[in-house]
């Protein structure tokens, strides 16, 4: 009789535990980009085979609506367990209580040092804790159109290596119509594209300064107005391009209306598709200084993921950042691997090589509000070329604006 009862209780316990310990489901949010979404879907299949007790629901939405989607989901209490977000948004998302820090035992200093470029660890860190892990990274390089070089009588295999050469070559490549309008830009100048990154992280350093203090509380770039002046001189003095030419720099370069452009690795697929005969070179150096801007989208864990979901989430993002995945990511999605060991294999590739080499000396800017900070640079350039304000003053005013943004942020965090 007592044994029957025992068996019954045990059976009951087994049944109950089977219910509660069924599949763990986590939700993964990502913006829609066809190649990425396809790749992730395949990777999820693999992951679920490796861990049959975990189920991953993949939700995507147009890039435009990222913030709205997140914003709407919070008060409603819905939302993902793992989210793929731009590293620059981490400070904002963390201070809002949206993300939880990566558990240090699973994501130790060693883990980061062994698996990623140095700027990654710095880029995902906020107030001493780390929050996300990337699959791929991006950097900048100089794109040039070999056909246009040839047409201008330049050697199509020799891109400019210094800022000086850049200006000289750009001037030779610029064409004007009878009224003096640019019909072919030597170098596309679009601060709202990657231009503002080039000014901020590359030019300021090459002219002897740096954009921010190491703890990112002080703006310092106004100490090197030559950096802005170099950029605006391209528009006002050398007249090799202007913001808005052919709508934007990507369109200009893709349609062969701009001979050179400073752009990111994410452009490669589109340029190949357009059938352009282009080359890629490391960013021009100046005064012997090389610098680059790197950025990345990374997978972070939200506060929604607790207990088993948290375990599942950790396994998922570790899986996504494994070097096996990174190897196929380059082929499938065309993004640079975040792991230096994997990246090494492509160093001699004529297209990916310069980007990867650039990662070695790249900086990932700490953004508290990238939209606003980008606009500060856009406005600075506009002030100079539309309003005739001196680069000195424009840069100073930009620095004041940006300092306000930083001050507001640090105040809200309680520093």
């Amino acid at each position: 009789m007592r044994r029957c009862l025992l068996v019954a209780v045990l059976a009951l316990l087994v049944i109950i535990s089977a219910q509660t310990f069924g599949k763990v489901k986590i939700v993964y949010w990502q913006y829609y980009f066809e190649a990425k979404v396809k790749a992730i879907d395949e990777l999820i299949q693999e992951f679920q085979k490796l861990y049959p007790d975990i189920e991953v629901e993949h939700v995507t939405f147009p890039y435009e609506a990222f913030n709205e989607k997140v914003a709407a989901s919070i008060p409603a209490g819905t939302g993902p367990d793992v989210v793929n977000l731009y590293y620059g948004w981490i400070p904002k998302y963390v201070t809002s209580g949206y993300l939880q820090p990566l558990p240090e035992n699973e994501f130790s200093d060693e883990y980061f040092a062994n698996n990623f470029f140095p700027f990654v660890a710095k880029g995902v860190e906020f107030l001493g804790k780390r929050y996300a892990v990337p699959i791929a990274v991006r950097s900048l390089a100089l794109f040039w159109n070999k056909d246009l070089f040839k047409a201008a009588g330049l050697d199509p295999e020799k891109p400019p290596r210094t800022l000086q050469e850049l200006v000289e070559v750009a001037k030779k490549l610029t064409k004007y119509d009878k009224q003096g309008n640019i019909v072919q830009a030597g170098l596309a100048t679009q601060p709202s594209g990657q231009g503002h990154h080039w000014i901020r992280e590359v030019l300021t350093r090459q002219f002897g300064g740096k954009p921010y203090s190491d703890d990112y509380t002080k703006v310092l770039y106004h100490n090197v107005p030559e950096a802005l002046k170099f950029y605006t001189d391209l528009i006002t003095v050398h007249k090799v391009g202007y913001p808005g030419f052919m709508n934007d720099d990507i369109t200009a370069f893709t349609s062969m209306s701009a001979a050179m452009n400073i752009d990111g690795s994410f452009r490669i697929a589109a340029l190949k598709k357009a059938g352009l005969n282009f080359g890629v070179a490391e960013l021009p150096e100046h005064n012997g200084i090389k610098s680059n801007f790197a950025s990345f989208w990374a997978n972070a864990i939200t506060k929604n993921a607790t207990g088993q979901k948290l375990d599942a989430a950790i396994k998922f993002i570790k899986f996504l950042s494994s070097d096996k995945v990174m190897e196929v990511w380059l082929e499938k999605v065309g993004e640079l691997p975040a792991n230096p060991a994997v990246a090494q294999k492509y160093y001699n590739d004529p297209i990916y090589g310069p980007f990867l080499k650039g990662l070695e000396y790249a900086h990932a800017t700490f953004f508290v509000d990238e939209t606003a900070q980008r606009k500060v640079m856009m406005d600075a350039v506009d002030k100079v070329w539309l309003k005739g304000i001196s680069p000195d003053r424009a840069f100073r005013e930009a620095a004041e604006e940006e300092q306000k943004i930083l001050d507001n942020f640090w105040k809200s965090v309680g520093k």
Partner: protein
Amino acid sequence: MTRSDRYVKILSYSVLTVLSIVMVFPFVWMVLSSLKPFREIYRPYLIPRNPTLNNYKQILGSSLFPRWFLNSLIVALSTTFSVLFFDSLVGYTLAKFRFPGRNLIFIFILSTLMIPTEMLVIPWYVMSSRFGWIDTYWGVMFPGMITAFGIFLMKQFMETIPDDLLDAARIDGVTEFGIYYRIALPLVRPALASLAILNFIGNWNAFLWPLIVSSKPRMYTLPVGLAYFSSENLMRWEMIMTGATISTIPLIIAFLIFQKQIIRGIMLSGLKG
């Protein structure tokens, strides 16, 4: 026809024809762009050198396109019917009845037009999530079932109806609802047709709310589905233009149908007064 009549007619046709070039040109550009292959989309010339139907094949062939089209159709038709009924009823009431709070209620309804949708989206989402309306047709439709714009339009037109006509019907023993339905409504048929087509167009092109309230691709309306072709790294212009062209065609058909209704309506409503 007098000479001055003929002169005015010629002037009308000339002005309208010349201006129609300006009106139609951007649309022509849009359609021609949709026929361009990716390589040509950035070229400045208007007419594609290698026209292709590939963009259309890609969008129309996408497995969810018919479903998006159907969703848009269901949502737009449902809201239009609802709007035609409720907006006209309220417009009629505000125009033809005297009661305390009448002006206040009208201003209150009108004031709902004064908040940008972008700010309404979050409370709507919270509501929808709480009531289980996410990923449902009702979730997409509910904000548009009754519109202040339609109420205002109908009120203006209803006001032009002579009161004696309605009083006469009351004396004849017609119910209040009957007066609205059988007497007032037919007299404002042009306005109803206009309301219908404008509401249909507005609803069909709505983007932000349908985007927020749908998480499953199966439930997207057409504009949301088509938005997937713009991304961080590359705006697929030829796809965007193709999507816009496809999206516009049902509206053109709807407009032509409604236009016929308006013209027929005038002939049927006959003499007034």
